[in-house]
Structures are given as C-alpha cells and as structure tokens.
C-alpha cells in the first residue's frame, strides 16, 4: 500500500493517522478535513471551553511538533464530494482527484436542525467555531433555552447555569438522556438540574421561534407557551455525514454500513461517529457517538486495513459531566433491559447495572468511578460467553 487517505480530521481521523504509523505503515497519508483547524477535542466544547473560557491550546488533540512527526499531509479545509470505488479515486469539492490504496472514512456527524426560518440567536454546537460563537453570545443572553435533552443539551444547560444564566431545557422526551439510559437515571438527573436552578419543560414539542427585529426573543411551544430567550441551543441529535457517498455504491443507512471488521468495501473502512458496524459481541448493529469509540475504532480499522481481519467488539464507554455529577457508562442499555441498583441512589454515589436476557450488558456509574470500573469486568465476562443467535438487541 502506497497511499492511504483519511477523510475526516478530528479525533477518529487523527487516531487513524497515529495508528497507521504505530503499526509501521511508512507510505503516504493524506488527511482531508472539512474544518480549518488541526484536530481538536469536542467533549470540552460544551463544558470547560465555554464555562472556563479555555484557550484553543487546551482542546487541541496533538502538539504541532508531534503532529508534524507523523508525516501526514493535512488538506484542510477541504471537503470530499465523490468516491469512485472502481478507480480508487476521491474527488474534492475544489476539484482535486486523489488516488488511494486504502481509505478510512471518519467524517463524523452534523447537528440536526429545525426546518424553517432561524432568527439570530439560534445555535447548534458541534465545532470549535460553534463553541466560540456561543461563548461570545452567552455574554449578552441572560435567558437561554436549550432544545433537546440528550447529553449535549444537558451538559450545555449545566454550563450556562454555571455562568449564572436563566436556563430552560425543552424536550419531548419524558426525562433527560432518554435514548441512553433508563427512566430512573433520567429522573434523578432531572431532579439534580432542577435543584441547580435549571427549568425543565419535558414532553412538549417546539412549535417555532419568536423574534424581535430579526433576533430571537423566545421559543414557542406546541402547548402555546413561550419560553423567553435571547439565545437557544438546538441539540436534537445528529446525522452522519454520508450524503456525498450516496452515489459511491457503498452501503449507506444510519451511517456507513460496515461489517464486523468495520469494513465498508475492500480497502475501505469507517471509524468514529459515522460508522455503523456489526458488533459481534452484542449481536447488534451499533453506531456510537462517543469520544472513546473514535480512538478505539480508528485503531481497529487501521489494523484491519493492514490485514488483521479482527472483529471490532469493544465495551462502549461514555462519560458526561453535569453540575457536580460525573456519569460514566460501559456497555449498552437496551430498552427492554432490567435495571439493578448497587448502592443507594439517594446517597449520590451508585452503580446501575443493566441486565438483558440473563446477561449484564450495561453498567452506569453515578459519581462512582471506581465501583463502575470494577463492574466493567462483569461486562467483559458476559460478552465472552455470548453466542450470536442468543442476543438480539437494537440500540438507538
């Protein structure tokens, strides 16, 4: 192999480059990244970057000198717009045609937006530029509305509250993090947010935005109420950046559809938020939008591109910091799982285990990092014994 192209210059893209060199690949590496910045870390963007006004240096994923040592060519900002699998050719929007022997797709996701007009003051949060704009705008927005009760929305709500702003979270789910965790966890989290002064409007749809002179003045709900706000963050999920691949012949669904080795086509692999792959440990197709997966999956795809042919079957890990709560979880929490609490929920420190068909498939730590880490072993052991046809899970 003489040329590997990595499409995507964020956490998964960088990890792929690092893994290529660590595995001894000495050929050419081209990285095509849509953003103008060298790789930076996204998790701090909804938290410390805004709350503590952190400088860019704090969120970059590699020191410039170390990045240089990797000897990759960073084409940024540049967008890939066409993949020709037969000719092994990638075309960029600027017109360049780049040939490759191996291809790693790590294009990530884009925030979902509401259809219709969007007055000034309505934001999404994905990129460093988004976060920088939000950080500035929060200075002149005493009332903040957060639309969406997922990880990003709830973290941003805690951050805005920390800055002393009036914060209302609006969502159609019955409790926060409803896609990730059981109701018992979500309700406890809702109580903690309310105690911190965050207002929650749950199980209600957003009907539209109110504006004055082109600037947001409130969020209109389906029940007729208006939540006054000078700034609104729309955090209603993301969609994989796959539109440019629809004519390529690659299998596309909710992400790039890969096999158990994260392979989408011969010599073509996907990693990170955009990759949907068959997890042979859970017997389920997964697509994971969490930081650790970007690094782990990029490493796995590189090994497989270089010939390993190993199933990628990690124990997924995520974390979220909201107010004084550190949530961490391993594994998965399917809708029909049964939850068992170890410890006392009222104590503010416990582990919740998720059982599915007689196996422990998920473990969540609520301010319980060590106890959670010890639970992880049970998930590993449970996965060791899995026979594929025994467990059929769907994960949102």
């Amino acid at each position: 192999m003489r040329t590997v192209i990595v499409v995507g210059g964020s956490a998964a893209g960088l990890a792929a480059v690092q893994a290529l060199r660590a595995e001894g690949y000495r050929g050419r590496i081209l990285v095509v990244g849509a953003e103008p910045h060298l790789p930076y870390d996204r998790p701090p963007l909804s938290k410390g970057f805004i709350a503590d006004n952190l400088p860019f240096e704090h969120v970059r994923l590699s020191e410039p000198a170390l990045l240089n040592e990797l000897g990759a060519e960073w084409l940024i900002p540049a967008r890939a717009c066409e993949l020709d699998l037969d000719r092994r050719m990638l075309r960029l929007e600027a017109g360049d045609r780049l040939g490759f022997d191996g291809l790693i797709l790590a294009t990530g996701v884009s925030p979902r937006v509401f259809p219709g007009p969007r007055p000034n003051g309505v934001y999404t949060l994905r990129s460093l530029d988004d976060a920088a704009a939000l950080r500035t705008a929060l200075g002149s927005a005493p009332q903040v509305a957060v639309i969406g009760t997922g990880v990003l929305g709830m973290e941003f709500a805690a951050t805005a509250r920390k800055l002393g702003l009036d914060v209302t979270v609006i969502g159609n789910a019955p409790h926060p993090l409803a896609r990730q965790f059981p109701a018992a966890i979500g309700n406890l989290l809702a109580a903690r947010h309310r105690a911190a002064g965050v207002m929650l409007r749950l199980e209600v749809q957003v009907a539209g935005f109110e504006e004055k002179g082109g600037h947001l003045s409130g969020v209109r709900l389906a029940d007729g109420d208006i939540v006054p706000a000078e700034l609104a963050l729309v955090a209603i999920g993301s969609q994989p950046d796959v539109d440019w691949l629809r004519t390529s012949g690659l299998p596309i669904g909710d992400g790039i559809l890969c096999d158990a080795c994260c392979r989408a086509a011969p010599g073509v692999y996907a990693a990170g938020d955009v990759a949907s792959w068959w997890h042979s440990g859970y017997g389920a197709r997964l697509r994971i939008e969490h930081r650790m997966n970007a690094t782990e999956q990029a490493g796995a795809t590189v090994k497989n591109l270089l010939g390993a042919a190993e199933d990628f079957r990690p124990i997924p890990f995520m974390w979220s910091d909201q107010h004084d709560i550190k949530l961490q979880s391993y594994g998965i929490f399917p809708d029909d799982g049964e939850v068992e609490i170890e410890g006392d929920m009222a104590s503010g420190r416990f582990v919740a285990l998720c059982h599915n068909q007689g196996r422990v498939v998920g473990a969540l730590g609520w301010n319980a990092v060590k106890a959670l880490r010890q639970s992880r072993m049970r998930l590993v052991e449970a996965m060791e014994g899995i026979r594929l046809d025994e467990l059929q899970l769907t994960v949102g």
Binding site: D41, M292, W319
Partner: protein, 64 residues
C-alpha cells in the same frame, strides 16, 4: 522513564487505570487521575504507552 500527568486536563475516564493499573489510580470523589509511580520500571513501558494512547483528554506524557 518519567510519567507526567496533568490533573487539570483529566476528565476522569479511568482508561489509564484499565491500561496500567500499577501506574495509575483515580481519586474516589471525582475520578481524577493519581500517579502511583512517577518513575515506573522499564517493563511497564508498553502499558504506559497504551494509557497515553487511550487517554481521551491527553493528560499523560512520558519523558525518557
């Protein structure tokens, strides 16, 4: 071999402890990394390098 940690960057993911339990630990209250051995023996090098690789906050460095 000298291991350096930056507690201010640490996000408490605990991945370093999984990779090198003899070198790293976490504070019970918030999960922030604790260095157990600043100058670990040479045979720990591979584990330390793995911890550096998997740390999502880039809070670990190695100096020779």
């Amino acid at each position: 071999m000298r291991v350096l940690i930056e507690q201010a960057r640490c996000c408490g993911a605990g991945q370093c402890v999984l990779a090198a339990p003899d070198i790293f630990d976490q504070r019970e209250e918030d999960g922030i990394v604790i260095l157990l051995q600043e100058n670990p023996p040479e045979e720990s090098r591979a584990d330390v390098l793995q911890a550096i690789k998997v740390c999502p906050a880039l809070a670990i460095r190695l100096e020779d």
